[in-house]
Amino acid sequence: MAAATARAKIGAADIVDVDGLRPLAGVRGLAGVRVYDVGQGDGIAILGMDGEPVLQFDYGGRQGNPFSNAPMADVDMHMPTGGERLLMISHWDEDHWCSAPRGQSAKAARWLVPRQITSPRAVKFSAGLSRISCIPEDHVGQSWRFEAENGDAIWWEKIAAAPDVFAREEDCNRTGVALSVVKAGEDGSEPGVILLPGDAPFDRVGHYRDHFGSGLRLKGLVAFHHGAGTHWTKATEQLLREWSARADVPQIIYSCSNPNAYEHPQTKRYEDNIPGGVQMRTAVLRGQGVAYTDILF
């Protein structure tokens, strides 16, 4: 299915620039995603056709962060960002941004973040960023796209509105941002999608359902919430089961420390609900001298 047709059917809007920055300016197409070993947390780059990071999604890593005692240059070298690239975060839990203060390049990037109730530490950190803006709340629940030259696109969506200032029981996993990377197939390659739900339950992401409805093949995903069982519902299982039935063998990467305090990942949940088989692997490969793992189209 041609991307333009799918787009028209779904009705997502392209965003050409964010505060004057064109996120995919000069990007020919998208090759996949790179999941960095950051320990417990997420740090994901979306890759251009030459393997270069074109957009960063999360910059975290808490327990078992490999940059804990490293010089600042290390995190800059291993998770390159900054300059005229966009850095988005899924939500404000510290394991999704806390590598940024350990280096320099992320602090120089342009940040696009969800408006949420968050911790004092996140507030203080964000106040030190000179180029940061929030996704307007009137954009919540709608799908938006950054499109590369060949029609490949990064789709994203803030899945729910920020609660008001007096709200209780605020769970920022439920009001964060989820991404997906779509290979459009306009250049003759096979269309497909890679899901990057952050800590959001991926069955609650509207444009994921749109992708499913449009017939896109599931190439892979980064296990939501580091492979946790939190927010796992029957709908989650149904979505996994039915979508993966179209895939050859979807690739699932879980990004969590080993050991960790949360009993992550719960790989059996995925294995049980993807009866056709699944490639599950960890992003924590430092023992093998590897700093990341990729899902490529």
Binding site: S68, R102, Q116, W144, R168, G206
Partner: protein, 374 residues
Amino acid sequence: MTDRDQIFPPKPSGFSEARWLALCEWVRFAAEIERLETEGGAQAATIALRSELDAKASRFLKTERVLAERLIAEFDRARALDRQLDHCYEWALRWGSIGRLMLPGIRWPEVMARGYLRDSYSRDKEPLPWDEPQFLPTKGRTYYIFIEEAAAPEMAAAVDGPDGMNIDRARHPVFSQTPIRFRGSGLQYEDFHGSEGNFEILDPENIDLNQRNRRRRDIEEHLGEIDLPVIDLYMASHHPDLRAVRMMLSIGSWHMIGVSREAVIYPECPVLIGAPEMAEDPYSFAFLTYLGPVPAHIVVRLRDIFSLAHIPDARFNTEREDEAGGRPLPPPDGPPGERWAKAEAAPEASMEQGLAEEEPAFTRRHTPPPMLEN
């Protein structure tokens, strides 16, 4: 030494004489009720005591009008004897360092904590009326803490400290029993009250760009040198107050805690305080001495100052034709619910329909988030 000195402990600094005497009398009554209950006191005796308590409240009203009105209201709401006791303990707890209130015959650490917590739980999340504490512990520190996580690492082999480094449970005496961790971050009482006056009060529904810029400068200027550590509060998984604490320490809420290295009040509740950026002293170790609500007017200030109000909304350009950035399209044709309705007519309708039935939240994503699933 007078008779009264034998009955009442010395008055801590920060209390007026009248307030301290009233509190002590209140506590003594609580002890008498407890004794009656323990000894199988008759219902009539309980009723008589209740009446006397009300009378005392009336006298109390003359010196502590606002407080006494609240007390009376509290007692009117209390339906069971044990809840009356709880309220007495709660007030004592709120008013002072409970380590100093060692009246004979009362198991203070246990009953006060349990009473207070059960009360918090039973209120079904209504804000608790509370005056500011009149004094702070001379030993230890008091923090305002924002709850970020209520994990249950009962089975995890290794937990991480506030600095992100692994703590080997087998080697750490604190974790020899299965602990439950509540993780938050915050700042010391004195730091907050020393700086909050510098922050403009913002209306969250109506903030202009100048206000956002001023807020950002204020955060950097007035909080830049203040430590905002990660605070990990642990409780044993068998602790009788655990359920109440879980209910109270909900994610996104603010609370006040006291910690001390010397305290023996809650030796089963260790607290680790630190942060990755505090490399030379990754975390300090203390015990919980106090856990309580934050007065509503302070919560408002905390939630205002520690908000993302300093960050402006992004400006998106969705109109311009642009070769490099893609072609513009019309905006989405309605909220997600409408989109699902359309999707249900597609070949994959069976799945969409099934999901919609299971998860009605799919079609009302603009509603506030529901409670965290555990």
